[in-house]
Amino acid sequence: MNFFLEPLTLLTFFPLLGVLALLFLKPEWRSAHRWTALVTSLITFGLSLWVLDQFNAASGDLQLISRRPWISVAGWDIQYYLAVDGLSILLVLLTTFLMPLSILSTWTAVEERVKDFMIFFLLLEVGMTGVFLAQDLFLFYIFWEFTLIPMYFLIGIWGGARRIYAAVKFFLYTMAGSVLMLLAILWLGVYQGTFSLPGLIDRGGIPGDIQMWLFLAFAAAFAIKVPMWPLHSWLPDAHVEAPTSGSVILAGVLLKMGAYGFLRFNLPLFPEASVRAAPWVAALAVVGILYGAIVSFAQKDVKKLVAYSSVSHLGFVMLGLFALNPQGIQGGILQMVNHGISTGALFLLVGMIYERRHTRDLEAFGGLWKVMPLYGTLTLIVALSSMGLPGLNGFVGEFTILLGAFGSQAIGSYWFAGLAAVGVILAAVYMLTMFQKMFLGPVDKDENKKLLDLNWREILILVPLLVFIFWIGLYPKPFFDLMAPAVEKLLVGF
């Protein structure tokens, strides 16, 4: 019976209790559903803090292990194996941190089928937490695929006009990548005799050519999820059609699963292939950084703009991870968190204006700072954080990534980091253009003249994000300290 009380198991599956409670509530009791989901996600967040409390930051090993033999037919060694280390702890915290905020953001935005919405949302949390904690490839795959289903419905039921198209596209793209990953997982499990990740890493010894193929198979799944250029085509559609909270989670957590996959599986399992692939990944990442930044500049839909900016930001993350040195990888991990916070906040902000104006067309706004001073100021701070202003979180991540990539032997050329740094300029261009079109200038549209500024609930959603924007920007040491030993351990193989 201790099984369910093991910290990580409890953390992962706790939202199911909320789902269970929701099942017993009448569909028309909407606020009861909202409160149940909120309280559940808050308790889950509390649990994750409890996990953080037990986490020993000085060690780079897997900790708080929760492990049981699970399926052992036909000589397969599949385990139920959850554990956390410095690579994943921040992402777990990010997940549980963003959940209550997203749920709060649906308070007035989702009015239909609230019960179903909340159930899907909590299920999604189970899947995401599981992805970050699973240390068995098979278990990981199950969680990985499991996240698809709630997200599919979240987009498909509560989305915008072209939601079905977007949901199907999202589903099929991710599915297509996952299939290859499944094959690679099965190959590893069958030929290496275990599905457990630490076991596989210890065993090692996969020949170079096969490493490359396996690397590519895993990369297919992860690169689509990240998404790396040129596999990003599903992202703008999914973001534009998804409800606000869905976008927040999609950008904040789901995309991180891709980058995390590279970090957790590709790098330690296939070190030789990773080194060989590093310049190519870096090249795609740099193209993504510039491409995303330039394309966002031309967008007229705010949400689409933010979606393309994600392509750019995740390019930075990938560049950092494949720098294969401490600065790059730690910066990459931190940048995942930063992107979750900043872009999450941006989507929340876009959602707030959308609730008021029911449009996201940049041209429909103008001079909003005058009408909604608080909203304007907060958007400015978040936008600055997103474009990497020093003193805010985005800068710390981008700087360390670029510093790492610049001196990286794996990438092998200054040009990548140098070109990526151009992305910093372009980020300022599109973010400021967005800010200018929405908030500056005179209020020349009648619809905008009487907009209400943020209410207390919305402020409550944004304040925690702002706290982290400043905290990480000014004093990122605690965050780096959490991951440093694990990254060091990871890099021993290179």
Binding site: I164, Y165, V168, K169, L172, P230, S233, P236, D237, Y291, I294, V295, F297, A298, Q299, N325, P326, Q327, Q330, G331, G366, G367, W369, K370, L384, L389, P390, G391, F395, V396, F399, T400, L402, L403, F406, G407, Y414, A417, G418, A421, V422, V424, I425, A428, V429, L432, T433, Q436, F439, L440, G441, P442, V443, D444, Y475, P476, K477, F480, A484
Partner: protein, 697 residues
């Protein structure tokens, strides 16, 4: 004695306060400012900066007590990854303290001035709620500038570097819903964006330079970096310094990134004085001085820096002679003077460059603030004039847009605004380099050094100095002498005490500032030597000084010939225009640089973005590759598998799959009669068959 003990040890620990005080001020005003009267908000902000000034003095005192030895005050670790170690650490040495004193001293005066100025400005522009916001931004700026000058590593410097850029953005766009004439427009906001993005381009250079520094010199902390310089190959240092130069030209508005500074005049006048004349734009000069050990090793880089500075100085001066907007003249003058400073530090004359930096802060802040006073006076006059006719506020008259900045609308203000006139004159003489005003000493030192080491630079700078004296003369005559060319100028009124008091102090500094670094004494030079090592100090030459003075006087005389001897009528073309013809038009339109940039870079970037977004990402990637090839291809496959004959209308994967499912369903339908029992029968049939298969296979 306790005090002397504290002087040598205790005061250094106060260094973080130079950032903290303005920070407290801004937080206080942010939280409570909305509920407090304007006076309180303004004085709290001013006091916060004043407190930073006091701290800076204490630091300077302590520093001289230990003979200028650099102190590092570390607050906390910032980040530490692998070999990268960065602290939030304050560096107190003679260079940084000189900057701190200048920033907080001039800053305090400008804050006090702004209490009076903004009080009127927000009323003229019709939104008094922004008073509070102004002082929040100003305090933020001071805090950022302090971080910039006091940081102990390149990254902390960069935090301040971009931070002041942000404040500049916020303050240029302070009237984000108006244009420079107060009409509803996006113009000011565009100017703000332009400044930020031009600065970002410079910051890109800074970033690359810091990556190179870290990669080759192994650290970002100043002392460690400078200690490594000798061990690194020259080409690397050259690359570093050139990328750093990109940062310098961005921040200090040199060719080719100077275009943002003239537009930055959209900000309220105290902003122009503080940020775009005295402090922020000099950050580039400070950076070169700070990186002296890097530049010192590569003469090629020094030469490039010096040349860029000198060319900018002349180039901007030519534009300044043909401007009508009182603040725009000063803006180009600032670019030009920054060129002087950059040239000086580029030549290695750090003492001269820093001397001119401080002097320029005094007299240019003075000139901007006085210009602000002039503008306010004109606005008051216009207000009084239009009050009788209709409504109030100058932007309500639609038939003719009145520009209170336009020198063609001024004239004869000498008598209407005497205090402003006298302080403006002091600033002008200082800028023109007439002895014994402050600008004379500093400019002379730069010219002297150039004449000895870089003749080309010397000639460029001398030409620029000539132009400087000319356009300042032109300005004084156009604004203060002659007859008023507009009714508003006739009715102009002198500004209140709170505005003129800081002006008088600054005027005093502009007159007497030269004592800081008089020939033979070189107080500032020796003070900086503690930090920068043995400096090259050229001895005073009567010949050079006399030559420079004569040139300046001649230029002023020329200005009098054109503008003073005979009065300009209201609608008459500029006197110089008659003389120069087409060349004047070129200057007037600033060589069409803005239009050129727009045509060559900005519009091309927009085209590229649109092309990528619509054609590549939209039509090719999204519509063609995904929808037509992938989705439709899959749809066709599904259709083919489903029923090659039945070519229904299938669109995309969703429909393809749906059709497939429907087809299968229709085949299976005949087995479906809806009776539970017959379903159950098929189950049993299945059981029997499977069991049979297992038995008899």
């Amino acid at each position: 004695m306790l005090f002397s003990e504290a002087m040598s040890t205790g005061f250094f620990n106060l260094a973080p306060l130079v950032v903290l005080f303005p920070g407290i001020g801004l937080l206080f005003n942010m939280v409570f400012g909305g509920r407090l009267p304007e006076k309180v908000v303004g004085w709290v902000a001013s006091l916060a900066v004043g407190a930073a000034f006091v701290i800076s003095i204490l630091l300077a005192v302590s520093l001289s007590a230990i003979h200028g030895h650099a102190e590092i005050v570390s607050v906390t670790e910032w980040m530490s990854i692998g070999s990268l170690h960065l602290d939030w650490a304050f560096r107190v040495d003679t260079l940084s303290v000189a900057m701190m004193l200048m920033v907080s001293g001039v800053g305090t005066l400008i804050h006090i001035y702004a209490i009076g100025y903004m009080h009127e400005d927000v009323r003229f522009k019709g939104d008094p709620t922004r008073f509070q916001r102004f002082f929040v931004f100003m305090n933020l700026f001071i805090a950022m500038m302090m971080i910039l000058v006091s940081g102990d590593n390149y990254l902390m410097l960069f935090v301040g570097w971009e931070g002041v850029g942000l404040c500049s953005f916020l303050l240029i766009g302070f009237w984000y819903d108006l244009d420079i004439l107060g009409r509803p427009s996006l113009e000011n906001a565009k100017a703000a964006n332009k400044a930020f993005i031009a600065n970002r381009i410079g910051d890109f250079g800074f970033l690359i330079a810091s990556f190179l520094i870290f990669t080759y010199l192994g650290s970002l902390q100043f002392d460690l970096v400078f200690a490594e310089v000798e061990h690194v190959a020259q080409p690397v240092i050259l690359t570093i310094t050139l990328f750093m130069l990109l940062g310098v030209v961005g921040k200090s508005a040199q060719i080719p990134l100077f275009v943002w500074l003239p537009d930055a005049m959209a900000g309220p006048t105290p902003v122009s004085a503080l940020i775009h004349a005295a402090t922020m734009v000099t950050a580039g000069v400070y950076l070169v001085a700070r990186s002296a050990p890097l530049y010192g090793t590569v003469p090629a880089a020094q030469e490039i820096v010096a040349l860029i500075g000198a060319v900018t100085a002349l180039f901007a001066a030519t534009i300044a002679v043909a401007q009508y907007d009182i603040k725009r003249v000063l803006a180009y003058s600032t670019i030009s003077q920054l060129g002087f400073m950059v040239a000086a530090v580029g030549m290695g004359a750090y003492a001269a460059g820093m001397f001119h930096l401080v002097m320029h802060a005094f007299f240019k802040a003075l000139l901007f603030l006085s210009a602000g006073s002039v503008i306010l006076g004109i606005e008051r006059g216009y207000h009084a004039m239009s009050h009788g006719k209709k409504g109030h506020g100058f932007h309500h008259t639609d038939d003719e847009v009145f520009n209170p900045n336009d020198m063609r609308n001024m004239g004869g203000l000498k008598d209407r605004m005497p205090v402003t006139f006298w302080v403006y004159l002091a600033g002008t003489l200082a800028l023109a380099g007439i002895p014994p005003f402050a600008g004379f000493w500093s400019k002379d030192e730069i010219l002297l050094d150039a004449s000895l080491h870089y003749p080309v630079v010397y000639w460029l700078l001398t030409a620029a100095a000539f132009m400087t004296a000319f356009y300042m003369g032109r300005q004084v005559w156009l604004v203060f002498f002659g007859k008023s060319r507009h009714e508003a100028a006739e009715k102009a009124e002198e500004s209140p005490r709170i505005i003129t008091a800081p002006l008088v102090i600054l005027a005093g500094l502009s007159v007497l500032g030269g004592v800081l670094n008089l020939p033979h004494f070189h107080t500032l030079g020796h003070w900086l030597e503690y930090t920068l090592g043995e400096l090259r100090i050229s001895e005073f030459s009567w010949l050079m000084a006399g030559q420079a003075t004569l040139i300046a006087l001649f230029a002023i005389f020329l200005a009098w010939l054109l503008y003073g001897r005979r009065e300009q009528a209201a609608n008459e073309p500029d006197a110089l225009k008659k003389l120069l013809g087409p060349a004047f038009v070129v200057f007037e339109h600033m060589y069409w640089i803005d239009e050129g940039y727009a045509a060559v870079f900005i519009n091309r970037y927009k085209d590229l973005a649109r092309f990528l977004a619509e054609v590549i990402d939209g039509r090719f990637w999204h519509d063609w590759l995904h929808d037509s090839v992938l989705a439709a291809g899959f749809g066709k496959l599904a259709r083919f598998l489903a029923d090659p004959v039945d070519l229904g209308l299938i669109d995309g994967i969703a429909n393809g799959l749906a059709d497939l499912t429907q087809w299968v369903a229709s085949r299976l339908r005949r087995f479906q009669n809806g009776f539970v029992r017959s379903y159950a029968l098929s189950v049993l049939l299945g059981v029997v068959l499977i069991l049979g298969y297992l038995l008899f296979r």
